[in-house]
């Protein structure tokens, strides 16, 4: 089985703060990690490889330092890594990003399955995975929580929805975005880390992809971010203090006021 996993390097969300003046993310000094949702995609790929043999190619679009995320994925059991990096990609929205990733996947050639995390923890759009599938014109299943069956031709998966899950059958090649319920990602091993350190990471620039330069980066991005801000704090909470018995009476009184009679 030939699997491609798309990942993104993001700021560690435990450390993220927003600059109150500019309303933008403060990225300086924040550790970069693999998007947490993508770690489930990597783990699922490694499990499939352990079951069916095959290869895992890990790709990311990002600045040169995103290579660290690829090496981490290699240490977890992925076989090849490709960094898609060029100034021309800067400022890409989800449309341009998914176009660029799909161009890289076309260059890779054949594959059975593409796995992505359900969304990135920084942008939270959940659009890139579906975008890639659309550009490649292959079927997609989003929010996959379990791969029930899979063979070279088709797969049967459980897909998380708000009030339960759906069982979907899909033909391969296809793309899944996965949710955290799908597995528990393993920790890297020392031997994996040592191997990943020495592994070669290919770097592909815009010129190496067969793509329309007008559809890349800022120019190829129809989305314009007008403003980013913290939602205003909610108002109107009442704190009831005092002895428990008094507090309960007070609570009942307050609840009674809002009840229709």
């Amino acid at each position: 089985m030939k699997i491609i996993v798309c990942i993104k390097q993001v700021p560690n969300s435990a450390d993220v703060k927003i600059d109150p003046k500019t309303n933008t993310l403060i990225r300086e000094g924040v550790e970069s990690v693999i998007n947490p949702f993508d770690t489930y995609a990597i783990e699922e790929a490694v499990r499939l490889k352990e079951r069916f043999a095959g290869t895992i190619t890990i790709i990311t679009m990002g600045p040169p330092q995103a290579e660290a995320a690829l090496r981490e994925a290699l240490s977890l059991g992925c076989d090849e890594a490709i960094l898609i990096s060029d100034r021309a990609f800067a400022g890409s929205d989800t449309w341009a990003t998914s176009y660029t990733l799909s161009s890289a996947i076309k260059k890779i050639g054949s594959y059975d399955l593409i796995l992505c995390g359900k969304q990135a923890s920084d942008g939270d759009t959940a659009q890139v995975g579906p975008g890639v599938a659309t550009h490649l014109d292959i079927p997609q299943v989003t929010y996959v929580k379990k791969i029930e069956e899979i063979n070279g031709e088709k797969a049967r998966v459980e897909r998380l929805v708000e009030d339960g899950y759906e069982i979907v059958e899909v033909s391969l090649p296809c793309l899944f975005t996965v949710v955290k319920e799908i597995n528990v990602p393993r920790l890297p091993s020392l031997k994996g880390k040592i191997k990943a350190k020495a592994a070669k990471v290919a770097v592909w620039n815009a010129a190496s992809l067969e793509c329309d330069p007008k559809r890349l980066g800022l120019e190829g991005s129809p989305t314009k971010v007008m403003k980013i801000f913290n939602p205003p704090p909610r108002k109107g909470a009442v704190k009831i203090t005092g002895e428990p018995e008094e507090a309960v009476d007070k609570l009942i009184e307050l609840l009674g006021k809002d009840l229709p009679r």
Binding site: R186, L187, P188, S189, L190, K191, K193, I194, K197
Partner: protein, 383 residues
């Protein structure tokens, strides 16, 4: 402090640190309370290759030495000195094979130990033979292709859980210390059973158990080195393993200090954080300085040992003695900084204090370490 670790040592440190923080710290109190052996964590450590850091690559290890083992043990001990011991005690049980095993014995046992598929244990102590190891009573009588072992070993770390045991027994009582030999035993050998599981003050996630040999038949091929080498095997093993105990001690101390600093910043009395009081500040400063001094001594000792230096007993004993004394002192002070909360089992620091104490006692009491150091000094002065 930058100890100029190489790339691989940094990897070991970071991975052990990640496992300690994410996987061990959240369950440390629970294993302590239940006195249960932490098999799920051992499995994680095995999958991460940490059991093989000090074992040669050709036997499936990472190819590091005593320093790599110390780095790993220290990081794990910051979260739990009992859980980290499953790995450190396996190293203690494995060093006799690394140091004195023939290639066949190494091929047979080291790969499984390096992969963490089998734990190991070292057995020398007996009810009446602690510091006076020369008085051990377990015997090994040669009969044809086998030795027949009889006797009891006491307080064996990893006892019952380990698959591989390196056991010191007397092959010739008339020769005293020169009549001891070391054998590799496997769990399940006929005549090899386990006795009482001990209830302990600290390191309660670690299994400490009695080994009982009743006409236990051990193949001749399982003799390490040759007959009569027993005490040399034991002493050379301790030279290599004591920095690991030291690292366990310094990890426990650091874990307690980290909690103490955090608590001091957040605990408010007299309208301010207690970390603003000089009395607390001086305690924290002394704790941190002692830990750093212990760590520096351990890493220097490890580097000297890994360089292949000959006379390593003294430096190894110094590291173990100093670091364990620091651990006891620092963890007691950490409880003091926590005040009444520190004494409660709902808070983490009393466990560090209980875990620290054993490091002054096992693998040679600190009084024995002082003997070793003094004897080396006197010997050196005669040169």
């Amino acid at each position: 402090m930058d100890y100029l670790l190489n790339e691989q040592q940094v990897m070991i440190r970071d991975l052990a640190r990640q496992i300690a923080k994410e996987k061990i710290a959240p369950v440390a109190a629970e294993y302590d309370e239940k006195e249960e052996f932490p098999w799920p964590i051992v499995k994680l450590l095995a999958d991460s290759d940490l059991f093989g850091v000090y074992i040669e690559e050709k036997y499936g290890g990472i190819g590091g030495g005593v320093l790599e083992l110390a780095i790993c043990t220290e990081e794990l001990s910051k979260a739990c000195g009992g859980i980290s011991l499953s790995l450190a005690a396996t190293a203690l049980g494995t060093y006799p094979i690394i140091l004195f095993g023939n290639d066949e014995q190494k091929q047979k046992y080291l790969p499984d130990i390096a992969k963490g598929r089998k734990l190991a244990a070292f057995a020398i102590t007996e009810p009446e033979a602690g510091s006076d190891a020369g008085s051990i009573k377990t015997t090994a009588k040669k009969e044809g292709d086998h030795y027949i072992l009889n006797g009891t070993k006491q307080w064996i770390t990893n006892g019952g859980e380990a698959e591989v045991y390196t056991v010191v027994a007397m092959t010739d009582k008339s020769k005293g210390a020169r009549g001891a030999s070391v054998f590799i035993l496997e769990k399940g050998m006929k005549g090899f059973t386990f006795g009482k599981k001990e209830k302990k003050l600290g390191i309660r996630a670690s299994a400490t158990r009695e080994l009982i040999f009743t006409d236990c038949k051990v193949p001749k091929a399982n003799l390490l080195g040759k007959e009569g080498l027993g005490f040399i095997v034991a002493m050379k093993t301790f030279d290599k393993s004591r920095p690991g105990v030291a690292a366990q001690a310094v990890g426990i101390a650091q874990g307690a200090l980290d909690f103490a600093v955090d608590y001091a910043k957040n605990r408010r009395q007299f309208g301010q954080a207690i970390s603003s009081f000089q009395g607390i500040q001086f305690m924290l400063a002394d704790m941190a300085t002692q830990i750093e001094a212990a760590r520096a001594l351990i890493y220097s000792a490890c580097r000297m040992i890994d360089s292949g230096a000959k006379d390593i007993s003294k430096i190894s004993a110094m590291a173990k003695m100093f670091a364990s004394d620091v651990a006891v002192k620092v963890t007691i002070d950490a409880v003091q900084i926590f005040g009444g909360y520190g004494y409660m089992r709902d808070y983490p620091v009393e466990k560090f204090m209980r875990d620290a104490k054993i490091t002054q006692i096992y693998e040679g009491t600190n009084q024995i370490q002082r003997n070793v150091i003094a004897q080396a000094l006197i010997k050196e002065s005669l040169k």
